[in-house]
Protein backbone atom coordinates (compact mmCIF):
# COMPACT_ATOMS: atom_id res chain seq x y z
CA UNK A 1 0.00 0.00 0.00
CA UNK A 2 2.72 2.45 1.02
CA UNK A 3 6.35 2.33 -0.02
CA UNK A 4 8.78 5.14 0.76
CA UNK A 5 12.46 5.12 -0.19
CA UNK A 6 14.79 7.79 1.17
CA UNK A 7 11.90 10.18 1.30
CA UNK A 8 12.94 13.75 1.97
CA UNK A 9 10.40 16.53 2.48
CA UNK A 10 11.79 20.04 2.61
CA UNK A 11 9.67 22.99 3.60
CA UNK A 12 11.29 26.40 3.57
CA UNK A 13 14.69 24.72 3.38
CA UNK A 14 14.04 22.66 6.50
CA UNK A 15 13.84 18.87 6.24
CA UNK A 16 10.64 17.67 7.86
CA UNK A 17 11.53 14.15 6.75
CA UNK A 18 15.19 13.43 6.23
CA UNK A 19 15.42 10.30 4.09
CA UNK A 20 12.80 8.00 5.50
CA UNK A 21 12.18 4.39 4.44
CA UNK A 22 8.88 2.71 5.08
CA UNK A 23 6.78 -0.17 3.83
CA UNK A 24 3.14 -0.60 4.86
CA UNK A 25 1.01 -3.51 3.78
CA UNK A 26 -2.61 -3.08 2.80
CA UNK A 27 -5.17 -3.98 5.46
CA UNK A 28 -2.89 -3.38 8.41
CA UNK A 29 -2.89 -1.05 11.38
CA UNK A 30 0.27 0.88 12.23
CA UNK A 31 0.94 3.42 14.92
CA UNK A 32 3.61 6.08 14.55
CA UNK A 33 5.08 7.45 17.73
CA UNK A 34 8.00 9.68 18.48
CA UNK A 35 8.97 12.80 20.33
CA UNK A 36 7.37 16.16 19.57
CA UNK A 37 8.69 17.44 16.29
CA UNK A 38 9.93 14.03 15.18
CA UNK A 39 7.99 14.24 11.92
CA UNK A 40 4.84 12.19 12.53
CA UNK A 41 2.44 14.73 11.12
CA UNK A 42 4.77 15.34 8.19
CA UNK A 43 4.89 11.64 7.39
CA UNK A 44 1.11 11.41 7.38
CA UNK A 45 0.85 14.46 5.17
CA UNK A 46 3.33 13.02 2.72
CA UNK A 47 1.47 9.72 2.49
CA UNK A 48 -1.82 11.54 2.03
CA UNK A 49 -0.47 13.51 -0.91
CA UNK A 50 -0.88 16.74 1.04
CA UNK A 51 2.73 17.76 0.78
CA UNK A 52 5.14 17.12 -2.06
CA UNK A 53 8.13 14.81 -2.04
CA UNK A 54 11.36 16.76 -2.43
CA UNK A 55 13.66 13.83 -3.16
CA UNK A 56 13.61 10.08 -2.85
CA UNK A 57 10.73 8.05 -4.16
CA UNK A 58 7.40 6.81 -2.92
CA UNK A 59 4.27 4.99 -4.00
CA UNK A 60 0.97 5.07 -2.17
CA UNK A 61 -1.94 2.99 -3.36
CA UNK A 62 -0.22 2.56 -6.74
CA UNK A 63 0.23 6.27 -7.24
CA UNK A 64 3.74 7.61 -7.54
CA UNK A 65 4.29 10.49 -5.10
CA UNK A 66 6.73 12.27 -7.38
CA UNK A 67 5.02 11.98 -10.74
CA UNK A 68 1.51 10.66 -10.08
CA UNK A 69 -1.82 12.39 -9.73
CA UNK A 70 -1.86 13.55 -6.13
CA UNK A 71 -5.47 14.66 -6.43
CA UNK A 72 -6.50 11.10 -7.17
CA UNK A 73 -4.43 9.95 -4.19
CA UNK A 74 -6.07 12.43 -1.85
CA UNK A 75 -9.45 11.22 -2.92
CA UNK A 76 -8.61 7.77 -1.55
CA UNK A 77 -7.44 9.10 1.79
CA UNK A 78 -9.37 9.86 4.96
CA UNK A 79 -7.64 12.52 7.00
CA UNK A 80 -8.10 13.52 10.63
CA UNK A 81 -5.81 16.36 11.61
CA UNK A 82 -4.95 18.36 14.71
CA UNK A 83 -7.30 21.07 13.58
CA UNK A 84 -10.96 21.17 12.65
CA UNK A 85 -11.69 19.69 9.31
CA UNK A 86 -14.91 21.21 8.08
CA UNK A 87 -16.62 24.50 7.33
CA UNK A 88 -17.04 26.31 10.61
CA UNK A 89 -20.13 28.19 9.48
CA UNK A 90 -22.03 25.10 8.37
CA UNK A 91 -23.68 22.65 10.73
CA UNK A 92 -22.52 19.06 11.18
CA UNK A 93 -25.38 17.96 8.96
CA UNK A 94 -24.55 20.39 6.19
CA UNK A 95 -20.84 19.60 6.35
CA UNK A 96 -21.49 15.92 5.91
CA UNK A 97 -24.01 16.56 3.16
CA UNK A 98 -21.36 18.56 1.32
CA UNK A 99 -18.84 15.75 1.61
CA UNK A 100 -21.39 13.16 0.57
CA UNK A 101 -22.45 15.08 -2.50
CA UNK A 102 -18.84 15.80 -3.45
CA UNK A 103 -18.17 12.07 -3.43
CA UNK A 104 -21.51 11.14 -5.00
CA UNK A 105 -22.53 9.17 -1.92
CA UNK A 106 -26.10 8.82 -0.77
CA UNK A 107 -26.94 11.50 1.80
CA UNK A 108 -29.26 9.27 3.78
CA UNK A 109 -26.29 7.68 5.56
CA UNK A 110 -25.56 10.94 7.34
CA UNK A 111 -28.03 10.54 10.19
CA UNK A 112 -26.64 7.12 10.97
CA UNK A 113 -23.05 8.32 10.96
CA UNK A 114 -23.87 11.25 13.24
CA UNK A 115 -25.55 8.87 15.61
CA UNK A 116 -22.52 6.59 15.68
CA UNK A 117 -20.20 9.41 16.69
CA UNK A 118 -22.74 10.73 19.18
CA UNK A 119 -23.42 14.10 17.61
CA UNK A 120 -27.12 13.76 16.87
CA UNK A 121 -28.04 16.37 19.46
CA UNK A 122 -25.58 18.84 17.93
CA UNK A 123 -26.34 18.07 14.29
CA UNK A 124 -27.73 21.40 13.23
CA UNK A 125 -25.51 23.75 15.21
CA UNK A 126 -22.74 25.66 13.38
CA UNK A 127 -19.58 23.60 13.67
CA UNK A 128 -17.62 26.47 15.20
CA UNK A 129 -19.68 26.18 18.39
CA UNK A 130 -18.74 22.55 18.98
CA UNK A 131 -16.43 21.65 21.86
CA UNK A 132 -12.94 20.32 21.15
CA UNK A 133 -13.97 16.69 21.49
CA UNK A 134 -17.11 17.17 19.44
CA UNK A 135 -15.00 18.63 16.65
CA UNK A 136 -12.87 15.51 16.73
CA UNK A 137 -16.00 13.40 16.51
CA UNK A 138 -17.26 15.38 13.57
CA UNK A 139 -13.89 14.83 11.91
CA UNK A 140 -14.34 11.09 12.43
CA UNK A 141 -17.85 11.24 11.02
CA UNK A 142 -16.50 12.94 7.91
CA UNK A 143 -14.13 10.02 7.29
CA UNK A 144 -16.66 7.43 8.33
CA UNK A 145 -19.00 8.66 5.65
CA UNK A 146 -16.33 8.23 3.03
CA UNK A 147 -14.95 4.80 3.98
CA UNK A 148 -11.63 5.43 2.21
CA UNK A 149 -9.04 2.77 1.56
CA UNK A 150 -6.37 4.56 3.55
CA UNK A 151 -7.01 6.23 6.91
CA UNK A 152 -4.49 8.75 8.18
CA UNK A 153 -5.28 9.84 11.71
CA UNK A 154 -3.15 12.39 13.52
CA UNK A 155 -3.43 11.88 17.28
CA UNK A 156 -7.04 10.73 17.22
CA UNK A 157 -7.16 10.26 20.99
CA UNK A 158 -6.47 13.92 21.72
CA UNK A 159 -9.53 15.54 23.32
CA UNK A 160 -11.72 12.47 22.88
CA UNK A 161 -13.36 11.31 26.10
CA UNK A 162 -13.27 7.74 27.40
CA UNK A 163 -16.31 6.61 25.52
CA UNK A 164 -15.02 8.28 22.38
CA UNK A 165 -11.74 6.41 22.60
CA UNK A 166 -13.45 3.09 23.07
CA UNK A 167 -15.63 3.84 20.07
CA UNK A 168 -12.57 4.81 18.12
CA UNK A 169 -10.76 1.56 18.89
CA UNK A 170 -13.79 -0.41 17.82
CA UNK A 171 -14.06 1.58 14.64
CA UNK A 172 -10.42 1.05 13.76
CA UNK A 173 -10.80 -2.67 14.41
CA UNK A 174 -13.77 -2.84 12.04
CA UNK A 175 -12.06 -0.79 9.40
CA UNK A 176 -8.88 -2.85 9.38
CA UNK A 177 -10.94 -6.01 9.28
CA UNK A 178 -12.75 -4.76 6.22
CA UNK A 179 -9.45 -4.39 4.42
CA UNK A 180 -8.57 -0.72 4.78
CA UNK A 181 -5.11 0.43 5.80
CA UNK A 182 -4.89 2.60 8.89
CA UNK A 183 -1.97 4.71 9.97
CA UNK A 184 -2.31 6.47 13.31
CA UNK A 185 0.05 8.89 14.98
CA UNK A 186 -0.17 8.73 18.74
CA UNK A 187 1.60 9.45 22.00
CA UNK A 188 -0.46 6.98 24.02
CA UNK A 189 -0.61 3.31 23.11
CA UNK A 190 -4.00 2.20 21.77
CA UNK A 191 -6.12 0.92 24.59
CA UNK A 192 -7.89 -1.93 22.96
CA UNK A 193 -6.24 -5.26 23.65
CA UNK A 194 -7.63 -6.87 20.53
CA UNK A 195 -5.76 -4.58 18.19
CA UNK A 196 -2.18 -5.56 17.54
CA UNK A 197 -0.70 -2.65 15.69
CA UNK A 198 2.76 -2.40 14.28
CA UNK A 199 4.52 0.43 16.09
CA UNK A 200 6.91 2.69 14.24
CA UNK A 201 9.07 5.15 16.12
CA UNK A 202 10.20 8.33 14.40
CA UNK A 203 13.00 10.66 15.37
CA UNK A 204 14.59 13.47 13.43
CA UNK A 205 12.51 12.71 10.36
CA UNK A 206 13.64 9.07 10.20
CA UNK A 207 12.16 5.74 11.28
CA UNK A 208 14.30 4.62 14.21
CA UNK A 209 12.15 1.82 15.60
CA UNK A 210 9.80 -0.78 14.16
CA UNK A 211 8.00 -3.30 16.34
CA UNK A 212 5.02 -5.54 15.64
Amino acid sequence: MVTLRDAVVLVGGFPLLSGLNLELEAGTLSVVTGANGAGKTSLLRLIGGLVGLTSGSGRVSDIDLATGDLRELRRRVGWLGHEGSFYDDLSANENLAFAAKALARPTNEIAGVLDRVGLTSRASMPAKLLSAGQRRRLGLAWILLRRPALWLLDEPYASLDDEGRTFFDQLVGDVVESGATVLVSAHDPLRSSTLHPRTLTLAGGLVVGDRS
Binding site: G48, L50, V51, G52, L70, R71, E72, R74, R75, V77, G78, W79, G81, H82, E83, G84, S85, F86, Y87, D88, D89, L90, E94, F98, A99, K101, A102, L103, P126, G139, W142, P148
Partner: protein, 219 residues
Amino acid sequence: MIRTALLVAGKDLRIERRSRVLLWQVLPFGVMGLVLSGLALGPTHAGHSSAGPGLFYLVMLLVTLLMINRSRVIEGSVGTRTSVATLGLDPAGVFLGKALALAVELWVTGAVLLAGAVLVLHTALVGTLQALPSVVVILAALAAAGTLYGALSGGGQGPATLLPVLSLPAFAPLLIAGERSFSASLHGGGLWQWWVISIVALAAYLAVGILLYGVLEDS
Protein backbone atom coordinates in the same frame (compact mmCIF):
# COMPACT_ATOMS: atom_id res chain seq x y z
CA MET B 1 -17.55 19.63 -13.47
CA ILE B 2 -20.97 21.27 -13.55
CA ARG B 3 -22.13 19.16 -10.63
CA THR B 4 -19.12 20.20 -8.57
CA ALA B 5 -19.66 23.80 -9.59
CA LEU B 6 -23.24 23.79 -8.41
CA LEU B 7 -22.30 22.06 -5.17
CA VAL B 8 -19.59 24.59 -4.41
CA ALA B 9 -21.69 27.58 -5.41
CA GLY B 10 -24.53 26.27 -3.27
CA LYS B 11 -22.23 25.91 -0.29
CA ASP B 12 -20.79 29.40 -0.69
CA LEU B 13 -24.17 31.03 -1.11
CA ARG B 14 -25.58 29.12 1.83
CA ILE B 15 -22.80 30.32 4.10
CA GLU B 16 -23.33 33.79 2.75
CA ARG B 17 -27.06 33.67 3.35
CA ARG B 18 -26.51 32.41 6.85
CA SER B 19 -24.01 35.08 7.83
CA ARG B 20 -25.83 37.89 6.00
CA VAL B 21 -22.51 39.55 5.38
CA LEU B 22 -23.66 40.73 1.97
CA LEU B 23 -26.83 42.38 3.21
CA TRP B 24 -25.53 43.99 6.36
CA GLN B 25 -21.95 44.71 5.59
CA VAL B 26 -21.18 44.80 1.90
CA LEU B 27 -24.24 46.61 0.61
CA PRO B 28 -24.03 49.44 3.15
CA PHE B 29 -20.35 49.71 2.35
CA GLY B 30 -21.10 50.02 -1.34
CA VAL B 31 -23.72 52.71 -0.86
CA MET B 32 -21.45 54.57 1.48
CA GLY B 33 -18.59 54.25 -0.94
CA LEU B 34 -20.70 55.84 -3.62
CA VAL B 35 -21.68 58.75 -1.39
CA LEU B 36 -18.15 59.21 -0.12
CA SER B 37 -16.50 59.20 -3.51
CA GLY B 38 -19.02 61.82 -4.47
CA LEU B 39 -17.86 63.84 -1.51
CA ALA B 40 -14.19 63.29 -2.23
CA LEU B 41 -14.61 64.63 -5.73
CA GLY B 42 -16.25 67.74 -4.38
CA PRO B 43 -19.61 69.14 -5.45
CA THR B 44 -18.46 70.39 -8.84
CA HIS B 45 -17.33 67.04 -10.19
CA ALA B 46 -19.84 64.76 -8.50
CA GLY B 47 -22.92 66.65 -9.62
CA HIS B 48 -21.99 65.73 -13.16
CA SER B 49 -23.88 62.79 -14.39
CA SER B 50 -20.69 61.90 -16.22
CA ALA B 51 -18.98 60.80 -13.01
CA GLY B 52 -21.61 58.11 -12.42
CA PRO B 53 -20.19 55.21 -14.42
CA GLY B 54 -16.64 55.70 -13.19
CA LEU B 55 -17.68 55.87 -9.57
CA PHE B 56 -20.04 52.94 -9.93
CA TYR B 57 -17.26 50.75 -11.23
CA LEU B 58 -14.75 52.05 -8.73
CA VAL B 59 -17.03 51.09 -5.88
CA MET B 60 -17.89 47.76 -7.47
CA LEU B 61 -14.18 47.08 -7.70
CA LEU B 62 -13.76 47.63 -3.98
CA VAL B 63 -16.80 45.49 -3.25
CA THR B 64 -15.31 42.77 -5.43
CA LEU B 65 -12.07 42.86 -3.48
CA LEU B 66 -13.97 42.56 -0.21
CA MET B 67 -16.08 39.71 -1.51
CA ILE B 68 -13.13 37.77 -2.92
CA ASN B 69 -11.51 38.01 0.42
CA ARG B 70 -14.65 36.79 2.07
CA SER B 71 -14.91 33.97 -0.44
CA ARG B 72 -11.45 32.84 0.62
CA VAL B 73 -12.07 33.22 4.34
CA ILE B 74 -15.07 30.91 4.26
CA GLU B 75 -12.83 28.20 2.88
CA GLY B 76 -11.62 28.01 6.44
CA SER B 77 -8.38 27.21 8.17
CA VAL B 78 -5.55 24.92 7.10
CA GLY B 79 -7.33 21.96 8.67
CA THR B 80 -10.50 22.55 6.69
CA ARG B 81 -8.64 22.98 3.47
CA THR B 82 -6.71 19.78 4.09
CA SER B 83 -9.91 17.82 4.63
CA VAL B 84 -11.60 19.34 1.63
CA ALA B 85 -8.52 18.52 -0.41
CA THR B 86 -9.11 14.86 0.42
CA LEU B 87 -12.49 15.12 -1.29
CA GLY B 88 -10.55 15.49 -4.52
CA LEU B 89 -13.02 17.96 -6.02
CA ASP B 90 -12.52 18.79 -9.66
CA PRO B 91 -10.63 22.10 -9.62
CA ALA B 92 -12.40 23.39 -12.71
CA GLY B 93 -15.69 22.80 -10.97
CA VAL B 94 -14.51 24.50 -7.81
CA PHE B 95 -13.41 27.48 -9.85
CA LEU B 96 -16.72 27.73 -11.69
CA GLY B 97 -18.68 27.29 -8.49
CA LYS B 98 -16.84 29.93 -6.56
CA ALA B 99 -16.96 32.31 -9.52
CA LEU B 100 -20.68 31.72 -9.90
CA ALA B 101 -21.38 32.41 -6.24
CA LEU B 102 -19.27 35.54 -6.40
CA ALA B 103 -21.02 36.68 -9.57
CA VAL B 104 -24.44 36.26 -7.97
CA GLU B 105 -23.32 38.39 -5.04
CA LEU B 106 -21.85 41.01 -7.31
CA TRP B 107 -25.01 41.18 -9.39
CA VAL B 108 -27.09 41.79 -6.30
CA THR B 109 -24.74 44.49 -5.11
CA GLY B 110 -24.53 46.00 -8.59
CA ALA B 111 -28.31 46.26 -8.86
CA VAL B 112 -28.51 48.13 -5.58
CA LEU B 113 -25.63 50.42 -6.45
CA LEU B 114 -27.06 51.24 -9.87
CA ALA B 115 -30.27 52.31 -8.17
CA GLY B 116 -28.10 54.37 -5.83
CA ALA B 117 -26.25 55.94 -8.74
CA VAL B 118 -29.50 56.98 -10.37
CA LEU B 119 -30.76 58.51 -7.14
CA VAL B 120 -27.62 60.07 -5.76
CA LEU B 121 -25.40 60.81 -8.73
CA HIS B 122 -28.22 61.79 -11.10
CA THR B 123 -27.22 59.15 -13.60
CA ALA B 124 -29.91 58.99 -16.30
CA LEU B 125 -32.34 56.14 -15.76
CA VAL B 126 -32.82 55.13 -19.39
CA GLY B 127 -29.13 55.00 -20.13
CA THR B 128 -28.59 52.98 -16.96
CA LEU B 129 -31.14 50.41 -18.06
CA GLN B 130 -29.47 50.21 -21.45
CA ALA B 131 -26.17 49.60 -19.74
CA LEU B 132 -27.52 46.69 -17.70
CA PRO B 133 -26.44 43.83 -20.00
CA SER B 134 -22.90 45.14 -20.19
CA VAL B 135 -22.83 45.55 -16.41
CA VAL B 136 -23.92 41.95 -16.01
CA VAL B 137 -21.14 40.72 -18.28
CA ILE B 138 -18.47 42.90 -16.73
CA LEU B 139 -19.41 41.86 -13.21
CA ALA B 140 -19.29 38.22 -14.23
CA ALA B 141 -15.84 38.79 -15.68
CA LEU B 142 -14.81 40.51 -12.43
CA ALA B 143 -16.07 37.49 -10.52
CA ALA B 144 -14.13 35.05 -12.70
CA ALA B 145 -10.95 37.11 -12.59
CA GLY B 146 -11.41 37.68 -8.87
CA THR B 147 -11.75 33.99 -8.11
CA LEU B 148 -8.61 33.32 -10.08
CA TYR B 149 -6.63 36.03 -8.34
CA GLY B 150 -8.03 34.98 -5.00
CA ALA B 151 -6.49 31.56 -5.52
CA LEU B 152 -3.28 33.13 -6.81
CA SER B 153 -2.84 35.23 -3.72
CA GLY B 154 -2.97 32.11 -1.59
CA GLY B 155 -5.90 30.31 -0.10
CA GLY B 156 -7.33 30.68 3.35
CA GLN B 157 -6.66 33.47 5.76
CA GLY B 158 -3.32 34.25 4.24
CA PRO B 159 -2.14 37.75 3.54
CA ALA B 160 -5.32 39.41 2.31
CA THR B 161 -3.21 42.40 1.39
CA LEU B 162 -1.57 40.63 -1.52
CA LEU B 163 -4.83 40.33 -3.40
CA PRO B 164 -5.29 44.00 -4.36
CA VAL B 165 -1.80 44.27 -5.78
CA LEU B 166 -2.18 41.19 -7.87
CA SER B 167 -5.64 41.82 -9.13
CA LEU B 168 -5.90 45.57 -9.59
CA PRO B 169 -3.78 45.73 -12.73
CA ALA B 170 -5.91 42.99 -14.23
CA PHE B 171 -9.13 44.65 -13.22
CA ALA B 172 -8.08 47.88 -14.85
CA PRO B 173 -9.02 46.90 -18.41
CA LEU B 174 -12.35 45.56 -17.17
CA LEU B 175 -12.92 48.78 -15.31
CA ILE B 176 -12.18 50.84 -18.37
CA ALA B 177 -14.33 48.72 -20.64
CA GLY B 178 -17.20 48.89 -18.18
CA GLU B 179 -16.90 52.60 -17.66
CA ARG B 180 -16.73 53.36 -21.36
CA SER B 181 -19.66 51.19 -22.32
CA PHE B 182 -21.72 52.60 -19.47
CA SER B 183 -20.81 56.14 -20.57
CA ALA B 184 -21.61 55.23 -24.17
CA SER B 185 -25.10 54.06 -23.26
CA LEU B 186 -25.60 57.26 -21.30
CA HIS B 187 -24.34 59.73 -23.85
CA GLY B 188 -24.44 57.70 -27.02
CA GLY B 189 -21.34 56.62 -28.86
CA GLY B 190 -19.78 53.42 -30.14
CA LEU B 191 -20.73 50.51 -27.97
CA TRP B 192 -19.67 47.42 -29.78
CA GLN B 193 -15.95 47.51 -29.12
CA TRP B 194 -16.54 47.56 -25.35
CA TRP B 195 -18.89 44.69 -25.72
CA VAL B 196 -16.24 42.73 -27.55
CA ILE B 197 -13.64 43.53 -24.95
CA SER B 198 -15.81 42.55 -22.01
CA ILE B 199 -17.07 39.33 -23.52
CA VAL B 200 -13.59 38.34 -24.63
CA ALA B 201 -12.31 39.10 -21.13
CA LEU B 202 -15.05 37.02 -19.52
CA ALA B 203 -14.38 34.11 -21.85
CA ALA B 204 -10.63 34.39 -21.38
CA TYR B 205 -10.82 34.43 -17.59
CA LEU B 206 -13.24 31.53 -17.55
CA ALA B 207 -11.00 29.55 -19.86
CA VAL B 208 -7.85 30.29 -17.88
CA GLY B 209 -9.64 29.46 -14.65
CA ILE B 210 -10.98 26.16 -15.92
CA LEU B 211 -7.59 25.17 -17.27
CA LEU B 212 -5.28 26.44 -14.59
CA TYR B 213 -7.19 26.70 -11.32
CA GLY B 214 -5.93 23.31 -10.24
CA VAL B 215 -2.35 24.46 -10.67
CA LEU B 216 -2.85 27.32 -8.21
CA GLU B 217 -4.26 25.45 -5.24
CA ASP B 218 -1.88 24.59 -2.45
CA SER B 219 -0.35 21.29 -3.35
